[in-house]
């Protein structure tokens, strides 16, 4: 599925949306940056509570499909600007990490 399709299916709110056509391979849920660096894979949608500037750098390094901040958390204007410059999609949702991860898992497993 593409990021645009996942966004629509789960009702996510795009904040920085440079490339809705990029494929979402799977999901990755973590608030530890080194954990993401070690274990996330290219094309994963990264679900997190972190929303500071280094998140953009880590997302870019790993080539994740995008970063979703949960529980309505919104990155600052500065972070959004950096994401725009680096081409990193940023999204937010009112869902908590558990619900989003569960729904994303089902969506990607069943190809709904």
């Amino acid at each position: 599925m593409t990021l645009g399709e996942v966004t629509a299916a789960l009702g996510l709110v795009p904040l920085v949306d440079p490339d809705p056509g990029r494929p979402v391979r799977w999901g990755f849920c973590s608030d530890l940056l080194s954990d993401v660096l070690a274990h996330a894979r290219e094309g994963d949608l990264w679900i997190t509570h972190q929303r500071h500037l280094n998140v953009v750098a880590v997302a870019k390094l790993k080539g994740v499909a995008g970063v979703v901040c949960v529980r309505g958390l919104r990155p600052s204007e500065e972070v959004r600007r950096a994401a725009q410059e680096e081409g990193v999609p940023l999204l937010t949702t009112q869902m908590d990490a558990f619900e989003l991860a569960g729904r994303l898992y089902r969506l990607l497993s069943e190809g709904e």
């Binding site: 080194s34 954990d35 660096l37």
Partner: protein, 150 residues
């Protein structure tokens, strides 16, 4: 040790202390440089991770330092050096999960105790030299062609 004559490119990046908002800039630049000299995507990926973790360590834990990127035909070297405080037990910091990060850094998602293990995992050669009170030097080498070919 590789011959000095084989250096294709050498760049030095200062890393100030406490500037974690800027951290990530060096790894972004290193990846850009490596791509521009035609380094293999896997080499760019691994060097980016090694550089980011090393850069974060200098910014979070030291009084500042620098990163030197050296590109050779057969390898990429990243040298991290700082002005202290130094590492008392190097075996301990190589253990996954060991961290001295303060609470504020942990809240930002640092301090998982995976930084140095991540650096080592993504390097083909990895050496830490440290003296408490003086500083630390880390040399990470990433081969551009796998040694297991020969």
């Amino acid at each position: 040790m590789p011959a000095e004559g084989g250096i294709l490119l050498r760049r030095v990046f200062p890393v100030p202390p406490d500037a974690i908002d800027q951290a990530g800039q060096v790894s972004t630049e290193v990846r850009r440089i490596l791509r521009s000299v035609g380094a293999e995507p896997e080499v760019v990926r691994r060097a980016g991770i090694v550089c980011f973790e090393g850069e974060m360590n200098i910014a979070l834990y030291t009084k500042g330092g620098r990163i030197v990127l050296v590109v050779r035909p057969e390898m990429v070297e990243l040298l991290f050096s700082d002005r202290g405080p130094g590492i008392a037990d190097i075996d301990l910091v190589k253990q996954p999960g060991y961290s001295t990060a303060p609470d504020w850094a942990r809240e930002l998602g640092f301090g998982a105790g995976m930084g140095i293990p991540n650096m080592e995992k993504n390097s083909d050669e990895f050496h830490i030299f440290s003296r408490v009170g003086q500083g630390t030097v880390i040399r990470a080498t990433i081969y551009r062609r796998r040694h297991d070919l020969g």
